[in-house]
Amino acid sequence: MYRSGGLAGRLVDMRNTSENPASGGGVVELVDVTRTYPDGAGVRALDGVTVAFGRGTFSAVMGPSGSGKSTLLHCAAGLDRPDSGRVTLAGREIGTLREPKLTEERRRRVGFVFQSYNLLDALSVWHNVLLPQRLAGVRPDKRWAREVIARVGLSGRENDRPGQLSGGQRQRVALARALAARPEVIFADEPTGALDLSTGREVLSLLREAVGSLGTAVVMVTHDPAAAAWADRVVFLADGRMVDELVDPTAEKVAERMMAVSVR
């Protein structure tokens, strides 16, 4: 109900391209992952979750507040460490990796697009985009960086500081930064949470495009059924467990399932 016909048509095209997931299964796999926070009276944020996200797929993770969806994302991305279970990223077990190996693994394979942009105010757009590669000690691919900046529609703003940009523009810088390093998977945590409707839609279509044209996997946490509808697959969490799954979602179906999950 949010989508215009034209966009919907484009989406269908993209879905077609992603119906052939790359062989070899998940680029991110969680097996029986449990995570308990010591504070909060031992509440299990994740309780034996097993899930895989395939190459070149767009997945959404949904669930009511406190269902563990952000914890799932953090564990999958190696930002948090599970208490038990296995997490593999591109076939490599990361649950047992120590710093700084874990960071090195993450910056080689993972990009982040979070609600709060997480850009460095001190650096220009251009330097923000190149930062992960610089930190990794690799020679930045400047042509590619220029291209992704153009793709997210920020050509000419390279020398601006994040502080001079609007929220949507900042989120597009974050996306360009994630894409510039050619990651295998992009983790997005409420990427549209701070944006208005049309800006949010632009960001989602850019994520969709990355999946379609670059074969990047996207794992997105959201509470917005309309945003989740852009995904190929929606995973529903409640009380730290995977309770449902929906392939080829529409906003209506997602909203329906969410209702069901929430009243369980």
């Binding site: 952000s70 953090h74 700084p100 910056r107 850009l119 001190a122 330097h127 992960p132 930190l135």
Partner: protein, 840 residues
């Protein structure tokens, strides 16, 4: 408002810790400095030397000048006094005249004079190194001293107080030796006396001679005081009125004031400590206010986000300003709770150390005055709230619509305003450096004042000065890989943060380096001049406490001694435009064909009686020419007019005036030669053979004589206090700055930085900030030390003492790096990644 403020305080306890700590330090230091100054200002000498007397007529103890100014119709009279180091005498017949007054039971003259006491060849001093003061036996009753053993002194005999007798380990019948300006006298101990319930008086060891012998031993022309004991039932006011008439100009003292009739040298001297503690409070107050202002401003800036949110919630700028003000008052009041007791403790510790150094009298105690404590708290609260309001002035102007978008950056600007603010202190510094003669006694103090003003100017200009330096330093550090590049970029973007940490570092370096270097320079120049002065002499003779002129004359007459010069340290009071001013001076005994001391006479020539010589600095400031007649007052208040015969240049560590030795010996209570310089072949052996009790050292081996020792110790303690305080301030500021960066570090982690990389970046940022702070500090130090040095001897110096300079650079730099590194490490360790989920 208060409830709102209390609420935010409770919620952001951590954020206020820095302000709290700075306020605590400020209150503690202001309190301790204030207590010390208050205690020396109100310190009363123990009032019991004349405990048994009703009133005391005192000889002159100060020089008072009155100037009359006619302004339009009004006539203004200004009276200024300067204390004497000696004691004026009273007419010999005064006691007799006073005794005849109605109601007077007894009038007892007291002639007090300093004595060097020795027993068994060993010098003896009173408790806490107090001087030994000689009196006539009749005046023993004024305390009263009563005999514990033996008998009253007859001719050739002496009575010691019980404390002195114990220290000298002598019994009645034993010989003791006393040295006064009249010579060395060997006397027999006839008895031991003591005040009731004690072994002696505080601050003096008392020695009594037979009254008939006082005049010849002391060299005094009359009594230094006449004490009066009223007859039982006499009318005191009538008695005092009669006394005043009889005494004429001489003051009549009663009650606690009676003790002021005592010899000045026998009273605890609080003049030196007043200037020392004045300096302590000036430095600590300046540093405390400086640092507190900076810390409060930094704290406000780090809460911009919260202020912005309050703004969106409908708070007006005025409300926010008041909120910041009330908050800072609450924090400062809270800080005062531990601050005051800590201040009291610090004051006592400092006083104890100063007592050990001998920079304050042994009797000095710290009085815990509530008024001073309240004033310290008030000052702390005032500074905190004013600086919070000033810092908040721009911050609260955040427009509500911008509030959320611009959470991290305050409305910028005020660049021109800041520069305007920097002009008055900079102008003041230039004025002080240009117009105040830094070469004289004011030099050190003015050096500090100009340094403080320059620091204020730099702090006011702040980012405008820090930006170019940061750019330079960032460019250099940026050569060191990606973390260096990142550190440079972040530093350039966060000029205000760099400024906030660089300024306390600058303060720490500049204040302490200026004090250390200026004092090192003064000492160095004094030593150099001392060496030049004594260069002609083959040997130097000294004795503990000094030598009487008679002994000097004997040495001068020894065969083979071709030149003798003895110096008798004293003080002289000059009339400085109606204000009496105290100057260090020397009596010079000069005999023989060759000059044994080379004062570097520039004009005229040293002459004898009726003349004096002046240092070129003094002659310049007074515009004196050789041949001028100058009026002055000697140590005992004797008014003399002498003709200026010579102007000399080597005055450092010596004195500004040179007077005939006989004149000084007659009017200075001590009147002893501190040092005798000799020329001639084999003089060392000859003097040793003739006078074995004296210390004779070849000039080459002689340590530079100077009583600047305890002053130096006090100065070093001062530097330690100020170093300690500024160091805490630096660490505090760095910690505040680091603690607020958790979010930024989390963002970097998400961008793929390892903790190691963030750590290296933060370290390189510290390097940039420390370099900027040290550069500014070096610049301020260079200006002040350069001008000070030029004023001293015309040579421009920057470093003065390479060891001190490098030590300061290394020490301050290292402290800055550690202060930057440790809090960052803690922040990184405590949650480098989950912070992305919380903390926003």
């Amino acid at each position: 408002m208060i409830r709102l403020a209390l609420g935010t305080l409770r919620r952001h306890r951590g954020a206020y810790l820095g302000t709290f700590l700075a306020a605590l330090l400020a209150v503690a230091l202001l309190a301790s400095g204030g207590l010390l100054l208050f205690s020396v200002l109100t310190a009363k000498p123990p009032a019991d030397r004349f405990g048994a007397a009703t009133a005391v007529v005192s000889g002159g103890r100060e020089i008072t000048l009155t100037i009359t100014k006619e302004k339009k119709d009004k006539v203004k009279r200004k009276t200024k006094s300067e204390r004497l180091t000696g004691a004026g005498t009273l007419p010999t017949d005064l006691a007799g005249r006073v005794a005849a007054l109605p109601g007077v039971a007894a009038a007892v003259p007291d002639a007090a004079f300093p004595v060097l006491l020795a027993a068994g060849g060993r010098p003896v001093r009173g408790a806490d190194d107090a001087p030994v003061i000689g009196h006539g036996w009749a005046s023993a009753a004024l305390t009263p001293f009563t005999l514990r053993a033996g008998a009253a002194p007859g001719r050739g005999e002496v009575v010691l107080d019980a404390d002195l007798a114990a220290r000298a380990a002598v019994q009645p019948g034993d010989p003791v030796q006393i040295t006064t300006k009249t010579g060395v006298h060997t006397l027999r101990l006839s008895g031991v006396a003591a005040p009731a319930g004690r072994d002696g008086l505080p601050a003096q060891g008392a020695l009594f001679l037979a009254d008939a012998q006082v005049g010849e031993v002391s060299g005094l022309a009359g009594p230094t005081a006449v004490a009066v004991v009223a007859a039982p039932g006499a009318d005191h006011s009538a008695l005092l009125a009669g006394l005043r008439t009889e005494a004429g100009d001489a003051p009549v003292l009663t009650g606690d004031d009676k003790v002021r009739a005592e010899l000045p040298g026998a009273l605890p001297d609080y003049i030196g400590p007043i200037s020392i503690f004045g300096f302590v409070i000036a430095i600590t107050a300046f540093a405390a206010i400086f640092v507190l202002t900076g810390t409060v401003a930094l704290g406000v800036r780090q809460r911009l986000r919260e202020l912005a949110l309050l703004r969106t919630a409908g708070a007006t700028p005025g409300l926010l300003r008041r909120l910041l003000g009330v908050e800072s008052v609450l924090v400062a009041l809270l800080a005062a709770v531990p601050g005051c007791p800590i201040g009291v403790v610090v004051a006592n510790l400092v006083a104890a150390r100063f007592r050990e150094l001998g920079a304050v009298p042994a009797q000095f105690t710290v009085q815990t005055n509530v008024g001073v404590l309240l004033a310290a708290v008030g000052a702390g609260v005032l500074v905190a709230s004013v600086s919070a309001r000033i810092a908040g002035r721009r911050a609260v102007r955040i427009a509500p619509t911008q509030a959320l978008a611009e959470t991290a950056t305050a409305p910028g600007g005020g660049q021109i305003g800041r520069l305007l603010l920097a002009i008055p202190p900079a102008g003041g510094a230039i004025a002080v450096l240009t117009f105040v003669p830094m070469g004289g006694v004011l030099g050190m103090g003015m050096g500090f004042v100009s340094c403080a003003l320059l620091l204020c100017a730099v702090a006011a200009a702040g980012p405008a000065l820090v930006r170019p330096l940061t750019t330079g330093a960032a460019w250099l550090v940026g050569k060191a890989g990606v973390t260096g590049w990142l550190a440079g970029a972040v530093s350039r973007a966060e000029i205000r943060r760099v400024t906030a940490v660089a300024i306390p570092l600058m303060l720490m370096f500049a204040i302490n380096a200026t004090m250390l270097l200026n004092s090192a320079l003064t000492t160095k120049l004094a030593t150099e001049e001392q060496t030049l002065r004594t260069a002609p002499a083959a040997a130097q003779v000294t004795a503990p406490g000094g030598l009487p002129l008679g002994t000097v004359e004997r040495i001068a007459a020894l065969p083979g001694v071709t030149g003798t010069a003895a110096t008798l340290p004293t003080r002289v009071v000059l009339n400085q435009g109606g204000k009496p001013e105290d100057h260090p001076a020397q009596g010079l005994f000069d005999a023989g064909a060759e000059r044994a001391l080379d004062l570097g006479v520039r004009r005229g020539a040293l002459a004898g009686e009726g003349t004096f010589a002046a240092s070129d600095d003094l002659a310049d400031t007074r515009s004196w020419r050789v041949g001028d007649n100058v009026e002055m007052w000697l140590a005992d208040g004797q008014h003399v007019t002498l003709r200026l015969a010579a102007i000399y240049e080597r005055s450092r560590g010596f004195g500004e005036l040179v007077l005939p030795a006989q004149l000084v010996a007659a009017h200075d209570p001590r009147g002893l030669a501190a040092m005798v310089a000799l020329r001639g072949d084999d003089v060392t052996d000859r003097v040793r053979a003739a006078l074995p009790a004296l210390t004779v050292v070849p000039t080459i081996e002689a340590a530079p004589a100077g009583d600047a020792q305890n002053q130096q110790g006090a100065w070093e303690l001062l530097v330690v206090i100020s170093l300690g305080f500024t160091a805490i301030a630096v660490v505090n500021t760095f910690a505040i700055a680091a603690a607020a960066r958790r979010r930024e570090y989390a963002d970097l982690r998400l961008a793929g930085a390892t903790t190691g990389q963030i750590w290296r970046m933060a370290t390189r940022e510290s390097v940039i900030a420390v370099a900027v702070g040290l550069l500014l500090g070096c610049a301020v130090t260079a200006i002040v030390v350069g001008v000070f040095s030029t004023a001293q001897d015309g040579r421009f110096r920057l470093i003065v003492d390479a060891g001190t300079y490098l030590g300061m650079l290394g020490g301050v730099g290292l402290l800055g790096l550690l202060a930057g590194a440790v809090p960052t490490r803690l922040v990184l360790r405590r949650g480098s990644l989950p912070a992305i989920a919380e903390g926003r």
